[in-house]
């Protein structure tokens, strides 16, 4: 990424110590396409422990898009332990309010259930599909950018400042999405609209952040929270997501996901 738009470069200029959890390229790593959401959450949790041991400070988690969901889920599982706060950027939170593609939440859930159980299964999503899907979110805009690029090809200086970003969005920045992870994400995002109603399900148990110890004070200039909270584009603090009970399981590792609408305890009664 160009230094002008690089997040780590920008944060470093602002006096921050930036770390990145790199999941690599699943399609080119042994067992990569069999990874589930729990593998990603375990990796983030291990990273938190490492950063804390290395720096002596509780790190902030900054997740963008689905990364913000990971941050929330890890904070829930850890009961906020070792985490100074959370910032999410463009993460989906309230599906009822968002109405993606204009689809009401009540219709979205069965549609996602069908897609998850009958179509996705454990199939992985190749990187080109993610890239293409992103372009299809705004097909006219994507086509216009491609035409502009061709028309300006004679002017290298005019293209240079956007070239890294263009290459990233046009394919180089996308990696395959492992099937189990994709399924877990669809479950977590849609079941009970959890990010708004509070808590998160891990291995059939409901976790929330109520009762978590207050976070330490750091002068970062980003929102400092008594507990990890969700801050992002038009999102604000979601107090409702922080209410309820915090229950930790006897087991050690994160277990997330399952089939939507499948077996297991119905946790709708939890807050």
């Amino acid at each position: 990424m160009s230094p002008a738009v690089s997040a780590v470069a920008g944060l470093h200029r602002c006096g921050v110590d930036p770390w990145v959890v790199d999941s690599g390229e699943p399609a080119h790593e042994e067992g990569g396409l069999q990874r589930g959401l729990q593998d990603h959450l375990d990796a983030i949790s291990e990273s938190i422990d490492h950063v804390r041991a290395d720096t002596g400070r509780r790190p902030y988690l900054v997740g963008y898009s689905q990364g913000g969901m990971f941050a929330y889920e890890v904070a829930v599982f850890r009961g906020n332990e070792g985490i100074a706060g959370i910032v999410t950027l463009g993460s989906p939170v309230d599906l009822k309010a968002m109405k993606p593609a204009g689809i009401p939440f009540e219709a979205l859930v069965p549609a996602v259930e069908f897609l998850s159980n009958q179509v996705v299964g454990t199939r992985s999503l190749p990187s080109w599909a993610s890239s293409t899907g992103f372009e299809l979110l705004d097909p006219a805009g994507s086509l216009r950018k491609r035409v502009d690029f061709v028309l300006k090809l004679h002017d290298r200086d005019a293209l240079a400042s956007h070239e890294k970003r263009r290459r990233f969005l046009n394919g180089e920045g996308w990696v395959a999405w492992p099937g189990p992870s994709l399924l877990d994400m669809m479950v977590g995002l849609t079941r009970h609209n959890r990010f708004m109603t509070g808590g998160y399900e891990i291995d059939g148990h409901l976790y929330t952040l109520r009762g978590s110890e207050p976070a330490g004070a750091h002068g970062l200039g980003i929102r400092r929270c008594d507990r990890p909270s969700v801050v992002g584009e038009g999102v604000g603090t979601r107090g409702a997501a922080l209410r309820g009970r915090r229950v930790r399981p006897a087991g050690g590792s994160l277990r997330v996901g399952g089939r939507i609408g499948g077996g297991g305890r119905d946790l709708a009664g939890g807050r």
């Binding site: 690089s6 959890v21 983030i44 950063v51 997740g63 920045g173 996308w174 990696v175």
Partner: protein
Amino acid sequence: MCRYCGGVASGPFHDLGEWARNALEVARFGGLDTGEESSPYEITQQSPTHRLRRYFPDSDPGRVAVILIPPMMLSRRSST
């Protein structure tokens, strides 16, 4: 400045030449080489499912630590 003739670069023929040269570079390498360098980093933790990268590892200590978490379908290059 025209890189070939040494004179002032202008005119449709110059633009056409530049366009063809850049188009060839895009066709061969997928894009234009801008000469920009990625931020320096070191891998401080590694497992079968992740690598933890610390950027600007030679920075002065005492900074607030921030862990960036990209979405699953984007590579870590999205933040670096």
